[in-house]
Symmetry: C2
Subunit: 596 residues, 2 copies
């Protein structure tokens, strides 16, 4: 049997005989001696095979990379000057007494330490890719996060209750993955987009505190940080208000960072109203590490000659903002041009700017193509309000509010994280959590001409906002909250509606008529009638949280067997064609039969 | 905020003011005072509302069953003679100071303490059904089992790694649930029947010790103890042999029983070869609590006149067994007739028996319709071999081995658990675990004329049995094991094949040709080439384990939202018809369009 993991042999085992299992990471012949770097999930150890040990040596001579072996040997100090401080086993080596090949390996299609592999290669040969130490660490980190979440929640009386994977299709928001029923001809299950309604029903059933780390499914067009199936830390509790719920779950995130990575997050996470976040950062998930803020200047621009500013300044649906970049006057023209191109992705038609060469002399000290079209008074007030100093740069956004928020919000983050931003102290280090609260209940969709739920249709309005559901839905705020960490939304939730009459009003505001409400959500409306408790909860995206903690580039680096952006598994070749017999049993046929 | 759970108020809180949240379980008016049994997930407490407290009393007067309320009040001793030893709060009551209705309830469709509800009623109103104390306890027990499993495995270095839910269809054994792909026209994912191949690949990747508590899916015709989706405790480890693997996992079951129910299982679980289990009990999952055993008497019956015995006695595919029932001579004829009918379910054409009135005088002391057709010598040897005493009864099974094993195996359990069996000491109390080992590799299917994998096609043959795969597949034994508890298979597993050449031989024995093997399992064969470690594992059925521990009647009683035997969710009405638009996006259409 194994004495310990290969990566954990250390000076503690000096002069002891150990038995290790692992894979040959590298073999070197040096001065007639064979050196093997043996690897397992805990790390590497150096094995020395001496030619005096004839049997072991002859075995070792035939060993190649990725062979799986058992080694028994004596732990001794490495010769002076050859220790490796990067390894736990770096001060010792194992003098091989016996070595047994448990399984040979053909030559791998790539070197495990090649950092320039394409994603296609990595996902096709995922079994080997997962042997890479970084991937081993990522998945072990993911495990530690999930187990610490469980410990924290268990300690507070939350219980894990499994909800169904084969559920009812209620298309609202994302597309469902459907599962045809064999027994019930013509009917389909849907894979859950989240356990939302089940966890609410568990609260009505009196389970009081629920959690589940569970797979959710959305059949959406995939982006870099999306997967068809993803993992949610899903929680719900009864009898607590918004603040009490947030306190529990920011505690969970603090616990996880402290126990998994030994990182202390702030003792209290700040909160910011959604409106303030949009106002100051143009985003409901502001990266607070970036020390740049929007300054509204629309009121200053209403009468200026420059139509690009004055038109939106006089339109209530638009905004005009300034973004002061300390030290930005030194930014080369090429960088400004690159940013102009960057904001165009978000629909901005240009990117006006002013270089503040001398803040004391206006307009002479200001360098910009637009200065001549803006009166001195307005310019002075912009300099004053933004607090711009000589040597700064001011960017402007002027357009429909959404375009300005998206474009200048993204620009703000882009500049903060740029080389310029880092060199000029615009980016703080560390973790900056933020609760964004007081979201609007509804978002108006211009195209469809109706309101949609900003969070989901089961979110409670703020106390006193119940009547606004009918009189002024756009102004109704919700008991909803998102937890934002360094510009990523890692979780979100809300206090739910626990009264059937309020739920009905929200459905009305969403243009869901009584019949549709009954067909889709009748079981929820029924449940709310039987003394449903006040309740609320939260869901965290585990993939995203772990990606951040691992500082990985993609969520695919923290998922063992992810799908590509075409929703395919390159390892197993799923999805794939199936037998006609299977389709017949499921009462379906393909539309484009020539495909099969 | 809540002081503690309602069910946990006790003498410890005497003279303290507590705040409780819960549901009105019962309201009684007695002597001008209102008594409320308040309920939450922890249990009940008695609230007393005095008419002197005018406001609280007037609220309480309008409260009905299942209202959700908050109560603040003083904990005091119940008057002498009125305490309730069944409740943790049974010695105290809470004198109500304030009561607030958090949500009213319409009259529930049934009384929560009605034990005679139909399953249809319970599943249709599952939200209320889950409020029943028994269901609350069942799901909390289930949670405790899963968290103790995690603690035990975490402690041994097992890590939870999530495997995909959208996988490849490889029809073998059970039917897959299919999920049409929108992005990949004409192709389908399958929901996993188990994470078997993924966990093996994780071993090849070097993760060494893996576990997952995860949903698996089989689209089979449902029996009482089956669900379309079920939960598996799925584990795999590298570098251990069969005995070492079993030791770890029987330790897990011992840990769970000890920590969840304070039950000590045996320090070592016995093992029994599959062949012995079939021989002695006619079953590969014998209930060892039942103190009855098969005695083979075929050799004694080869020459008897009684054709029902002599024919199978001379057929190598058949067997003739005796089952001695101590004290059974007193069994009334009606009971024997009922057993005769019972064994016919399993294909037995009759149920021969002998009442041993006087074991010392043969044949006079034997009472049976068949005695006259069996010679005295054979009868004497049957009495001797079975050890039958005066007053016993002997049942016989004589048919194809499968029929005898199924019929007399079931009869053995039936009699053991009958009133007769319990009164005559044929049923031991407690938990009787057993590892059944040395399963055959293959089972021959007469209908299809080929071998099937007895466990699954990735199971390793016993050392030295590799050549039998080609020469005599029927004799090849596997490194497979099942954990049986009181006659239920609660888990099973095997050492896996870790060499590509052996895996290929097994596929050949199963008539899976090279092309089919490559199409279905190419990724596994590839993985085995790269230094795959020796590995093996086990999977436990969580639903079944918890059902046993909860002494529930059905696995549906330990699942929050189960499906019916028609694979339907009566609460949400899943599966259901879906929009034509959804089907079009998935490139499928219904076969029987009139259904939609």
């Amino acid at each position: 049997m194994r004495t310990c993991y290969t990566g954990e042999v250390s000076k503690e085992h000096l002069d002891q005989t150990v038995t290790l299992f692992g894979w040959v990471h590298r073999r070197r012949d040096h001065g007639g001696v064979i050196f093997i770097d043996l690897r397992d999930r805990a790390g590497l150890a150096q094995i020395v095979v001496d030619p005096d040990n004839v049997e072991a040596f002859s075995t070792a001579e035939h060993i190649r990379n990725e062979f799986c072996v058992r080694v028994t040997g004596l732990v001794r100090l490495r010769p002076e000057g050859t220790s490796n401080p990067d390894l736990k086993s770096g001060e010792i080596e194992v003098l091989c007494r016996e070595i047994e090949v448990l399984n040979a390996s053909v030559t791998p299609p790539f070197q495990l330490d090649d950092d320039n592999l394409s994603e296609t290669t990595r996902l096709t040969h995922r079994v080997l890719d997962l042997r890479r130490p970084q991937m081993q660490q990522n998945l072990m980190l993911r495990y530690r996060v999930s187990i610490e979440v469980r410990k924290y929640l268990d300690n507070l009386g939350f219980i894990d209750i499994e909800t169904p994977m084969l559920t009812k299709s209620t298309p609202e928001g994302a597309r469902d993955y459907l599962v045809p029923s064999r027994v019930n001809d013509g009917q389909f299950f849907a894979l859950p987009q989240s356990p939302q309604l089940f966890k609410q029903m568990l609260m009505v059933s009196g389970f009081d505190r629920y959690y589940q780390i569970t797979k959710c499914f959305r059949d959406e067009d995939l982006r870099a940080d999306r997967q068809p199936e993803f993992t949610q830390i899903d929680c719900e509790t009864s009898f607590l208000n918004e603040e009490q719920i947030r306190e529990i779950f920011e505690g969970m995130i603090r616990h996880v960072f402290a126990h998994v990575q030994n990182v202390e997050l702030p003792a209290v996470f700040p909160t910011m109203a959604w409106e303030e976040a949009m106002h100051r950062y143009g985003s409901d998930k502001p990266d607070l590490r970036v020390k740049l803020e929007f300054v509204d200047v629309g009121d200053l621009m209403q009468d200026v000659e420059f139509k690009v500013f004055s038109a939106p300044a006089n339109d209530p649906a638009s905004r005009v903002v300034a973004l002061r970049i300390p030290g930005g006057a030194s930014m080369p023209r090429s960088e400004i041009d690159a940013y102009t191109k960057f904001v165009s992705i978000y629909g901005a038609k240009g990117l006006a700017y002013i270089k503040v060469n001398d803040a004391a002399s206006i307009p002479e000290g200001l360098q910009s193509p637009i200065v001549k079209n803006i009166n001195v008074d307005a310019l002075s007030k912009v300099i004053e309000r933004t607090g711009a100093q000589s040597g700064d740069l001011i960017f402007f956004g002027a357009d429909k509010a959404k375009v300005v928020n998206d474009a200048i919000g993204a620009l703000r983050v882009k500049i903060g994280h740029s080389e310029f931003g880092q060199q000029n102290g615009l980016l703080e280090a560390g973790w900056k959590p933020l609760w964004v609260v007081d979201f609007p209940m509804f978002e108006y969709d211009e195209e469809e001409g109706r309101y949609f739920a900003a969070h989901h249709p089961f979110t409670s309005p703020k106390d006193g906002h119940e009547n606004l559901l009918e009189t002024d839905p756009a102004s109704a705020l919700a008991k909803a909250y998102d937890l934002v960490l360094n510009g990523w939304e890692i979780g979100g939730g809300s206090v739910r509606i626990h009264r059937a009459d309020v739920q009905t009003k929200v459905f009305q505001a969403l243009n869901i008529d009584a019949e549709e409400a009954r067909t889709k959500f009748g079981f929820l409306l029924d449940a709310l009638q039987y003394g449903a408790p006040p309740h609320g909860g939260v869901a965290f995206g585990l993939d995203r949280l772990v990606t951040m903690m691992a500082k990985a580039e993609s969520i695919r680096d923290v998922i063992a067997f992810p799908k590509t952006q075409r929703a395919q598994c390159l390892l197993t070749q799923a999805p794939s064609a199936v037998d006609e017999k299977q389709l017949r049993e499921l009462h379906i046929r393909l539309r484009n039969t020539e495909v099969k």
